[in-house]
Amino acid sequence: MADKIIDLVHISKSFSGKKVLDDINLYVNKGEFITLLGPSGCGKTTLLRIIAGFCKPDDGCVIMDGSDISDLPPHKRPLNTVFQRYALFPHLDVYENIAFGLKLAKVPADEIEKKVKKVLKMVSMTDYEDRDVNSLSGGQQQRVAIARALVNEPKVLLLDEPLAALDLKMRKDMQIELKEMHKKLGITFIYVTHDQEEALTLSDTICVLNGGKIQQIGTPTDIYNEPCNSFVADFIGESNIVNGTMVEDRKVSFIGHEFECVDEGFGCDVPVDVVIRPEDIYIMNRTDAAQFTGVVKSCTFKGVHYEIFIDTDNGFEMMIQDYNAFEVGSTVGLIIKPQDIQVMKKERLANVFSGTITSETTVEMLGGEFEIPATTLENGTEVEVEVPFGAIDLQDHSDDGNVGGEVSFLLYKGDHYHLTVVADNDENVYVDTNDVWDKGDLVGIKIDPKDIVIRKKDE
């Protein structure tokens, strides 16, 4: 139906050896409102800068309207940017700021005036022409920045966290206005944000990024209701994510109970991740008709709803949102409906590292040496090393482990944490643990030799 206006093909980018974007493929349709969403450092701003032309990809190309614009400098690209901190020229007044692009394009003065007046009206800033930009409030500066970009009638408008500096109320108002502007103008918007709520509110399409890779592309409802992996489920909205097993089609087992679900095609007895949104768990004081029971641990009023934490009968912690309050310590009955259970294939079942045998009882991997069960493989053999998530022992000090690492992502799975630890050699190590760690903690990585399985490569 719609034409592609921008097509990113195999975009990769590294900064001083660290991969920021890893083979990104993404196209944007004409008139679409697309949001690049992800935590800080996921590469979303770099991707936007590549589209704008401020940053050159190491690999891949940017296609706009069918032609490759990868080598075009920013001033020749038919798109405009609203910068994170607005970047309004402090030596020019509001009018001159907005007219900047038109003057460069040698638009006749009377036409410039007409256009500036029109765009000022659109952002509700009429009569502010002569104001010094520094005398404006954050929200007003934001409006001028948007006007300055829109007045050039770009084919694509790039917005780099434009509302991040505004307070909550103002942000909500601007969100609505942006959405209306987009509808009215029909310009393609590419929006960068780390705020998932903002992304859900504004976008036609959301592209979730993490670690330089696209995690999921879809409409806001798709992304919210059917996250494709645990990162997306955890990042978008609140969620309970637990390990489960797909018993057979339409039957999944988790938290020690079997549930009916609507998913098919996973096979029998396959380990899966299960996501349940906190508003999708039905909670009641009666326990006779419940699928499972739990004890209320805490109940906090959040304005519209109560946030309730319960310990289930099998010792899993779950978060529930409900309009009613429940007494702490009381036993409650819980029901989850089949269509509210989101089943996801597990991305991995164990760590697999590549390594090299260095002696009968040691292997080199992750940039360090680890003990292994005695092997008959020769020194120098390239091997695959499989280590279960639970077999990795994290130490408080990076010196105490065979190699050091940094905790980069935490996922609570009801009864344990699933951590992503980036080892010193930049490889990811996935760890299941009951200990509490924080993002950014420096840890030592130790592995019990008896849990290590060695396989020769190419077998």
Partner: protein
């Protein structure tokens, strides 16, 4: 609060003794004759003294020329130094500032010797050379500083709005760096108006500057006339600072 404000007393005494009092003395001397009675003759003498007036005009001219040359050489230098793509090491910055660590008088003497050795005729050319050599770092440094601190996103925004690199410089970088240019101009212009050592050494006193005649008058014990000249110079410099600090405020208010 009171206890703290008492800490300023030593500085206050210092300022009174070495700044305020000398200034008052200069003023008192400027409006006295040799006998110590009030007169305006010292000031009127200057304005009717064709020699002094032309020296004054020459001083201003030389100072303007020096400032202009420093600006033309210093701005590109500062721009290159501040540009991370062109200048990747901090050593080059130190090399530019290094001459400031050596006494200006010594450098000037050395320059004069160099010209003598090379057989270069001392005159206005050598005078300007010495002045530029001495004062160039004072122009580079403030401009470099402001360019370094300037938010990159201004230039990017201009580029984004369709400005080519030359337009980015002319319409954004240059206007936003004006506070640095002004302080550079002041730091070069003010001391060159009153300098006398450079002209003495690098022209063998062939060219006299305003500073030279003040020095000569005071050396020959004509305290009152010398003081009047110094007073006039102070006022001139005062006026230029007023101009530029006004401008500073305007532009600086914009760069926060």
């Amino acid at each position: 609060m009171n206890k703290r404000s008492s800490w300023t007393i030593p500085y206050l005494i210092f300022l009174i003794l070495f700044v305020v009092l000398p200034l008052i003395l200069v003023m008192v001397y400027a409006f006295q004759d040799a006998q110590g009675s009030f007169t305006l003759s010292n000031v009127t003498k200057f304005f009717s003294d064709a020699d002094a007036m032309s020296t004054f005009a020459l001083s201003i001219e030389v100072a303007l020329e020096n400032t202009l040359i420093c600006l033309l050489l210093g701005y590109p230098a500062a721009w290159i130094l501040a540009n991370k793509k062109l200048n990747k090491s901090s050593v080059t910055i130190i090399l530019f500032i290094l001459p400031m660590w050596i006494n200006a008088l010594m450098r000037t003497l050395a320059t004069a010797e160099l010209f003598n050795m090379l057989g270069v005729q001392l005159g206005k050319g050598t005078l300007l050379y010495g002045m530029v050599y001495d004062y160039l770092p004072f122009m580079i440094y403030p401009i470099y500083n402001i360019l370094m601190k300037m938010d990159k996103s201004y230039a990017e925004a201009a580029e984004d709005l369709g400005a080519n690199p030359v337009q980015v410089f002319a319409k954004v970088t240059l206007p936003l760096s004006m506070p640095g240019v002004w302080s550079g101009v002041l730091m070069v212009f003010m001391p060159t108006v009153s300098t006398f050592a450079i002209s003495e050494f690098l022209t063998n006193n062939k060219i006299k500057l305003f500073g030279t005649i003040i020095q000569e008058n005071i050396n020959s014990s004509m305290w009152n006339y010398g003081a009047a000249l110094a007073f006039i110079m102070l006022i001139i410099i005062g006026i230029t600072t007023l101009f530029s600090s006004d401008d500073d405020k305007q532009v600086e208010g914009g760069t926060v």
